[in-house]
Subunit: 183 residues, 4 copies
């Protein structure tokens, strides 16, 4: 690993290396411990460089986490409620499945770290609003609980039952929610 020094300006490459290292450790299938020393070593960076720019280990982890989860998943279907909802859920489930390690780690942190909680709340609120917008465009009245049902299943599987977020489940859920919706 080689990286040019940048003298007295913040070294952007080092910042990226740190986030990459943190992300790699979080997603490590062997379950490597996410320690500051490990992040620093993997990034080829001194610990001080981490603490110069982030206030704590959790801040680094969250930063890495959110960077990964930012990819927006909204897809559109055939223009019917059932079709659009199915497309949305299928793509959401697939994205969550891909980012499983990141999302569960972030949500775990958020239960004890106020900073993490706030960032995650903002992240999930944006997602809820996307789904709520979709439902309202189709004329669904009072879509609040419906949104919670959809994301509830998604997160419940991520964090508690650890069941897979497969395409079939997304499609069946879309059917049920469509049946329930009042237009």
């Amino acid at each position: 690993m080689h990286r040019e020094h940048t003298g007295r300006r913040r070294n952007e490459a080092a910042r990226q290396d740190i986030l990459d290292a943190a992300a790699a450790l979080i997603a490590d299938p062997a379950g490597a411990a996410v320690t500051v020393d490990a992040i620093a070593a993997r990034a080829g960076v001194g610990k001080q460089t981490i603490y110069r720019w982030w206030p704590s280990k959790y801040a680094v982890m969250l930063d890495a986490l959110l960077e990964r989860a930012r990819a927006d998943v909204v897809e559109t279907g055939d223009g019917t409620l059932a079709g659009d909802l199915t497309a949305f859920l299928v793509s959401s489930f697939a994205g969550a499945e891909r980012g499983r390690a990141f999302l569960t780690t972030a949500a775990g942190l958020a239960q004890s770290e106020p900073a993490a909680r706030e960032m995650l709340e903002q992240f999930t609120r944006r997602r809820r609003e996307a789904l709520r917008g979709l439902l309202e465009r189709h004329g669904v009245t009072d879509p609040g609980l419906l949104v919670e049902q959809a994301y509830g299943v998604l997160w419940y599987r991520l964090m508690l039952s650890h069941e897979p977020l497969d395409r079939g489940s997304a499609e069946r859920l879309a059917v049920l929610l469509t049946r329930q919706a009042v237009i």
Copy 2:
């Protein structure tokens, strides 16, 4: 603090003291650190007595947590699907709201601690089976996703949106899920 020795049998009083101490520290408003030494000291117990019966600090915490949440919530309603489901959800929401701090702490732990994960999974599985049993008794076919939606909303509010688990929401959710049900 005095406690009778029980010789070569496990000392049930010590077990209870340990769980009480752990719960007290977790719920401590002053934010005392939940350390094994602190639990042992508060329970008047040697550390080894903790590690003899639990594999890690997190196992103790979860055990304490779940004991608090164990108050079983299965209430029955008027014998109709809508009535029984409403009664179940209202009581579940109320219980979860009361044990909010415990449940979120437990679920947070479970995201990083395998031991905690396993115990929580067992806990939630029992709850799911209770609800699934209720639905099956009313002839609902394929109740899996209904169960996940119910608990999904509950945990989503606990951990991510932090909205209250009030009676009104439980009642409205029961109505919606009844509408989804295929008999």
Copy 3:
């Protein structure tokens, strides 16, 4: 391992098993830790049976140690000073070499345990007196330092230089001490 109960009288077989187990652990070439649990397990005895009869682990060890080292080593030679001294030292060296593990353990304990110190002092005093008697029988005047030189070499090799206590050294030492002796 089976051993008859003896009812309300002390079980002599258990006492012996305990001392044997302690001795075996002390002499273990693999360097097994001499713990009370290990002694009890190896003797097939409850820990309480040990503590009923000895006040501490060190008391047990010392008891086992002294039992082993009691074999008296005084041999006689051809009746000349040189011959008798040689015989005495050769047999002393051989005995110390055989009981090396016991003697060093006992002397190590004695540096910190007053009880061990006292017992060892008594043990070594008897040995010194045996050698002093031999020398006096041969008309050596003022044999005090000579005795210390002989046992000094023996214990120095046991505890500090860890050199072997071989027959050749004993013989050469006897020659030197004879040369030095004033009759």
Copy 4:
């Protein structure tokens, strides 16, 4: 207690503070337990700093011990064998008498702790070599057993007979050993 940080180089002041703290605890007349936590606390040091540089508690204790006994005792006499040997032994006996508590503690440890044994062996070997050098400079052939007798008497009195290491004994021992010597 204040101590400058030294960045990425070993902090020599911390090393000295640790050895001082260990020595103080060993010599404590109140019989304070020599624990690593106590050493660390008294030295104002984290435990890790101790374990970074010494493999075990006993290594620290021995290091502290030997540092105290390192005052080199080689004195020269009048240039004759008898004179130089007398000077050497008198000064060695006096030093050993002063460091009695340290030396017996160290030797006691060394009987059960391999790390301690190794360091003490190195320490005593250096002493033996000093005396052997002195004897060889005076043309003594095969001085091995003479050296062992000298240090044998010294340690025997320290550890087993607990007799004083007075000047008179040193002088008489020098005479006897001179008488033994073959030139």
